[in-house]
């Protein structure tokens, strides 16, 4: 049997796409499926997935856990753990439809939960850290259980298959939200594990990523010093943790996080005014292990917005477009034109320059 994700490191090429309505208009899941399916040839049927934000307005104050189970024992243990640490507002198995191209599905459950107050207080952690630690605990301790989505009012849907098939399987046309991202995967191996598909999520952070980062082990070993366990050995997992670490834990604004993961070149830093120079020097000095090197284009989804970013040299394609208050980002322009034939503006963002779009009314948190 071939090694699964996490037992071996598998590089992959990919397609990504993202849409956000800044005014918070509801976008049906069918839109993002249409967009990503145009780039069919950029995936090879070994992984597809979506992240939708604003999709659970009725439970928006609860953390939505999406979990894969590969055996009943894992489900039993995990549910016991969840019951011990959280109050469950609602739970169900995620609705899917039979699809000829999607096979070997695990048990897929969804829990809307909130931490038990006494457990949370006892942990001396803030709520999000508490949830994050519980998620990592489940993923590392219960063999056969895998939490693949854990934010509020958002959810990840992924599987082994082409993204358009995955979207149909999860009946995404029945969901709508203000923000969607999508991913089609082209791994250079056949892991056949659903958890290995993208987006990768932790709390409300999700990443879809196209590329193969050359800094992976430097990033991983830095992150592991701060308690993260890079279990899947994928770039996407490491990149998600980097954003979680810098943005949530170190409280650096996203605009500054970009200056760490896509650090300014020294030639530019040397010519900055003193105060700015000192800051950028410090970024490179202190967080050098979190610089993301090698080719990548990513879309980071977070509560209330999304950010698209290319590596410093722009070694991966990425196009952006705007129509009214809606921003589109995709690996190829065709994926945008498919759902927005005449955008007001189309452009190719420069390497290392982020596009950040936020909900005008702010996010959940």
């Amino acid at each position: 049997m071939l090694d699964m994700e996490g037992q071996v490191r598998i590089p992959s090429g990919c397609a990504i796409s993202g849409i956000i309505s800044r005014s918070g208009k509801s976008i049906p899941g069918s839109e993002i499926i249409k967009s990503i399916s145009v780039m069919h040839d950029r995936s090879n049927g070994l992984g597809g997935g979506f992240a939708g934000y604003g999709i659970y307005p009725q439970y928006k104050d609860l953390y939505a856990l999406h979990v894969f189970y590969y055996n009943n024992k894992a489900k039993e243990l995990t549910e016991e753990f969840i019951n011990k640490h959280f109050e469950i507002g609602y739970l169900n198995s995620i609705e899917t439809r039979k699809h000829p191209n999607i096979t070997d599905e695990p048990i897929i459950m969804r829990y809307f939960i909130t931490p038990l107050q006494n457990k949370l207080r006892g942990s001396m952690l803030d709520e999000r850290e508490f949830v994050a630690q519980c998620v990592m605990k489940i993923n590392s301790q219960f063999e056969g259980a895998y939490v693949f989505s854990s934010g509020k009012n958002m959810g990840v849907f992924k599987a082994v298959g082409f993204p358009e098939d995955v979207g149909e399987f999860y009946r995404l046309e029945e969901y709508s939200g203000y923000l969607w991202t999508a991913h089609g995967r082209y791994p250079t191996n056949t892991p056949g594990w659903w958890g290995g598909a993208h987006p990768f999520g932790l709390l409300d952070y999700t990443i879809v990523h196209n590329g193969e980062i050359s800094s992976y082990d430097a990033n991983r070993r830095f992150l592991e010093m701060y308690g993260y366990k890079c279990k899947l050995l994928t770039d996407t997992e490491a990149i998600t943790y980097i954003f979680d670490f810098l943005n949530r834990k170190n409280k650096l604004p996203l605009e500054e996080v970009v200056n760490i993961v896509c650090a300014k070149f020294w030639t530019e830093i040397d010519n900055m005014p003193e105060a700015q120079r000192l800051k950028h020097e410090a970024f490179r000095s202190v967080y050098g292990g979190l610089l993301i090197n090698g080719p990548f284009s990513i879309i980071l989804g977070f509560d209330g917005g999304m950010m698209a970013l290319n590596d410093r040299l722009k070694l991966r394609g990425m196009v952006a477009a705007e129509k009214g208050d809606t921003l589109y980002v995709a690996s190829e322009e065709c994926a945008i034109r498919e759902i927005c034939p005449s955008p007001d503006r189309v452009w190719a963002p420069k390497g290392g320059e982020p596009i950040i779009a936020r909900l005008e009314k702010g996010g959940n948190n």
């Binding site: 050359s214 430097a218 070993r221 170190n250 500054e256 410090a282 490179r284 050098g288 610089l291 090197n293």
Partner: protein, 501 residues
């Protein structure tokens, strides 16, 4: 006539068809191997004095000379090598400890040669350093766990003093005394022009070189030679030398023959006296004492300079490094057992300490396991021989490297390993004025710059091949390394996979 137990190791081959009897070999050899016999009009050689430094060969205008190993052999014995036998003869004669110089020449495994590097193919592109930016600048020092910003976006966190290196290569500690003033001048000027640092070693700082202070690391060793407030303030950083890879467990040795007037003044010791540093620092008998010295030096320099602590790579190096990281030190230097020296007891040089590759891997991993890797930078020394060794060291986890032997090679050293005699024909490891002047610092500093720039270029080429364009993404990136012919335990300690995995 007494029996001569010790036979010459080398043979001087002189092609008499080519030799024009210009006697340059005779004038150049400080060991007085060559001589001219007027009566016979013939050049003679006394090989018992020859150290194979290649000076005569390099200067012979007609290429008439070659030095080779002597064909004379003791009876072969796999257990008793001829070297061991001669050493026994020598000690039976002198009753003394054997002295040697430069790094451990014994055939221990060189792990650099059993590690190979990665390169990009198809799934990601390599980066061409000629056409794209490629960054090898390094910042050494203690880094805070996190940064905080003010409301206006400016930096709130105050950073500890640090060193910025334009290249990840520095010149390691070699004292004035063990090497010549011209060698020091070459190193100081090269470091300045390269935007990196050289290290005074434990011999103080010659008054002429205070002007290079911005690119100087001043060293405080157990003998405290040449240490005074002005010296501490002169450098960009201070290095406490706890140990040295070539001779772990003992202090520095400078034979009295090398303690001439200038050296004596700089070291603040009597003329012609042996400068034997105590084995331990007599104010450091434990880790908490080290902390006191670190902070004494910080106090003395008003917390403006990073403090390096240099140790030899020994068995328990990871735990020791962890202690040092918690002692207030900003940079830990680990010196491997193949590191060079001007003089060391042979038995210690050849048998004490461990390879730098294993020590580095263990230290980097230990500091990460304890979550304190960012509290200190890690610099490694002890036989980084070329750019690929440097790349492998950085990928194993080093922030930067020190080169000593490599730098001396650039200055003309031929690794004859006779530094302790003080008769270096290349003007490097000597204090005899007629020999020192053979090393022209004007030429020397340019050769050092060339060497480091060439290595830097090679480092960039290799990084580009891996698809990496900033050296911080190479640091600790062990996925870029694979072992060849290493056993499971070695791979485990190095934290790398085997080639093909």
């Amino acid at each position: 006539m007494p029996v001569n137990y010790i036979q010459p190791q080398f043979l001087v081959l002189r092609n008499t068809d080519r030799c024009i009897k210009c006697r340059v070999c005779e004038r150049q050899c400080s060991n007085e191997v060559h001589s001219y016999d007027v009566d016979g009009d013939v050049m003679l050689a006394d090989e018992s004095k020859c150290v194979d430094c290649q000076r005569c060969v390099s200067l012979c205008p007609t290429h008439a000379l070659a030095i080779t190993e002597t064909p004379n052999q003791l009876r072969k014995n796999a257990n008793w090598s001829s070297q061991l036998i001669y050493e026994a003869y020598r000690q039976a004669e002198s009753g003394a400890v054997l002295l040697s110089a430069m790094g451990n020449p014994q055939p221990f495994p060189v792990y650099w040669d059993k590690i190979v590097l990665n390169a990009s193919q198809v799934t990601n592109p390599s980066i061409d350093p000629i056409r794209e930016p490629m960054e090898t600048r390094v910042i050494l020092g203690s880094k805070p766990r996190k940064l905080e910003l003010n409301d206006d976006g400016s930096l709130k966190t105050k950073l500890a003093p640090s060193l910025q290196l334009n290249v990840p290569i520095m010149f390691s500690a070699m004292s004035y005394g063990s090497i010549s003033k011209n060698a020091h001048e070459s190193l100081a000027r090269a470091a300045t022009e390269l935007g990196t640092f050289y290290n005074t070693g434990e011999g103080g700082l010659h008054e002429d070189f205070y002007k290079y202070g911005k690119n100087t690391i001043v060293q405080v060793a157990s003998g405290r030679f040449g240490v005074h407030p002005g010296f501490l303030r002169a450098g960009a950083a201070i290095e406490i030398k706890m140990g040295q890879g070539a001779k772990p467990g003992i202090g520095g040795h400078l034979p009295g023959a090398k303690v001439k007037e200038d050296v004596s003044r700089t070291r603040m010791i009597p003329l012609g006296s042996d400068a034997i540093s105590p084995a331990p620092h007599h104010d450091i008998y434990s880790i908490e004492d080290l902390r006191q010295l670190v902070y004494s030096l910080k106090e003395a320099t008003r917390y403006t300079k990073p403090i390096f602590v240099k140790i030899a790579a020994v068995h328990n190096v990871a735990a020791i490094a962890s202690g040092i990281a918690r002692s207030g030190a900003d940079v830990i230097v680990i010196d491997g057992f193949r590191g060079g020296t001007g003089a060391a007891p042979t038995r210690i040089r050849d048998n004490v300490g461990i390879p730098i590759e294993l020590a580095l891997a263990a230290v980097d991993q230990r500091l990460r396991d304890e979550g304190i890797r960012n509290d200190v930078s890690v610099v490694v020394a002890g036989s980084i021989r070329c750019a690929s060794d440097a790349v492998k060291a950085i990928a194993l986890g080093a922030d930067a490297i020190y080169i000593g032997t490599g730098a001396l090679l650039a200055l003309g050293c031929h690794l004859c390993r006779d530094c302790h005699s003080g008769a270096c024909n290349w003007g490097i490891a000597t204090q005899r004025p007629e020999l020192v002047k053979r090393l022209n610092p004007e030429v020397g500093y340019k050769r050092l710059i060339n060497l480091v720039q060439a290595w830097d270029h090679e480092i960039k080429e290799m990084m580009g091949g891996m698809g990496i364009n900033a050296i911080e993404s190479l640091r600790g990136n062990r996925l870029m390394l694979r072992g060849i012919g290493l056993n499971q335990k070695e791979l485990e300690i190095l934290g790398i996979s085997h080639a093909g995995e």
